[in-house]
Amino acid sequence: MSTATADAVMDYDEAMGKFDPVMGLEVHVELHTATKMFCGCPTEFGAEPNSQVCPVCLGLPGALPVVNEKAVESAIRIGLALNCEIAEWCRFARKNYFYPDMPKNFQTSQYDEPIAFEGHLDVELEDGTVYRVEIERAHMEEDTGKSLHIGGATGRIHGADHSLVDYNRAGIPLIEIVTKPMVGAGERAPEVAKAYVSALRDLLRALDVSDVKMEQGSMRCDANVSLRPRVGAPLDEAQLAVPLGTRTETKNVNSLRSVERAVRYEISRHAAILDGGGSILQETRHWHEDTGITTSGRVKSDAEDYRYFPEPDLVPVAPTRETVEALRGTLPEPPGLRRKRLQSDWGYSDLEMRDVVNAGAVELIEETVAAGASAGAAKKWWLGEPSRRANGEGQDIVTYAAGLGLTPAHIAELDGLVTAGRLNDSMARQVLDGVLAGEGTPTAVADARGLELVQDDGALEAAVDKVIEANPDVAAKIRDGKVAAAGALIGQVMKEMKGQADAGKARELILAKLQ
């Protein structure tokens, strides 16, 4: 029933002329608690199959679940950070379905009583525009097991003979964050979707509740998209009053870039169908990262009848207002505000700050500055060679640096060697290469490679005299006040000194002798 043939799509700009997009995003995030939601099994990623399983997460008869205190606290903190109300009393519910990824034949979730509800997150787009995403709810549930499909092509379910299930992931605490319909974004809808998931990821990282690694599945996004006829500008009252169209839900869109692409693709696909007089089938869609298209999944039908009922094995969660306020006191500075504060502390321009944020180097620079480097130097060194190499390896800078043992302290030390006059810029680059090659700390590399500016002013002066004598015409220009000509002499002095001189000092000497 799912075919790989591409559907007709309408040009995006044409689609925007005729339709108004509305989105809804559901983000699942795995908490990084030490244990599962309802039992003491560890949650470590990458363990041997079925080695982190017990009677509770295996759903054996008579096993009784008990709620993980830390997971509830994390859920409340997430709710507070999303400006939500925190329920005074709420329950878990059984979501019943028969599928081997859950050995209990139900998933313990929350239904009509989520722990957090009615919130919002302000999301800043690249040009500084702020879009407010209304949050419907954030609720607690548990992750499912992982299936491996055998016999079909490349592990996909179609054509598989049988499946192999590992329940290590079953029962890991999961928070599902659901937005209200996101209206009024107009043609910027795909960008808003990406910015929201990105802002949410930053927030969850700041809260230190999850690894938020989309590539490892600890943060996963489902994107709902629908179109309605365009009757005016996105925020016009008349436009906002048009009833919502039928939506599709694209599952497991697991990178920021894919969120943007999937929303854009679905808008173009819906537009082609609606414009041709067709109607949208309410269904789930599969996202294909490689081809950038979605294909039909399952139609919403009987399978959606989950027969929820309150979980009889668990008692209600009723956080006292004191508990909630105490947890509110543990919230970190919101990432958006934090960035603004750091930008002002560091004296970066908007563009410079955006480069740092996009490179994922905010924390590294913060630590480097704390270790004594200037903000300018910290940015220069981190966004230089280490950042280039990390990109080349397809890694983020933090992971890359950690893998090589390159620390903020190293960069601060390198900057210290430059400001103390021991190294010039090109020597410092060589030292950084050495540190990246695992040769040790900057000082050790500089020592081992014999990199040190010559501090002997006599030798420098001799070199300056020699160069002035060899270039009488240039010297004459400088005497006439053409100071810029000194550059040519500085280069030659550095050559004489085999690069081991302070170019600034050489310049001073040249000018002093010729003025």
Partner: protein
């Protein structure tokens, strides 16, 4: 409200992945109907002003600290599996439901 149609039973059987023949369906409509009627007697109890409850004990916030406890071990876990392969539970293929 306690009457159950044949379609209801067929629907529930589908959700529960239970294959029922026509004869079994007919029989279950009758049997489940009797069960529903019996249970429906509770509805005669005077419940005005009584809040619905989902747990017999008046408890809230029963939690455990986030401390690891030993798991069973893969061998014990898989001992109850009808079939295992690559240290995983082997299950029949599932069509068009992922």
């Amino acid at each position: 409200m306690s009457s159950l149609s044949r379609d209801d039973v067929a629907h529930l059987a589908g959700l529960a992945r239970i294959e029922l023949s026509n004869a079994e369906l007919d029989r279950m409509v009758g049997e489940l109907g009797v069960i529903l009627e019996s249970v429906a007697k509770v509805q005669q109890a005077p419940t005005e002003g009584v809040a619905p409850m989902s747990h017999p004990m008046p408890l809230t916030n029963v939690t455990r600290p986030d401390v690891v406890r030993p798991s069973l071990g893969a061998e014990a876990v898989l001992a109850g599996a009808p079939e295992a392969e690559q240290q995983r539970f082997s299950v029949p293929r599932i069509l068009d439901e992922d």
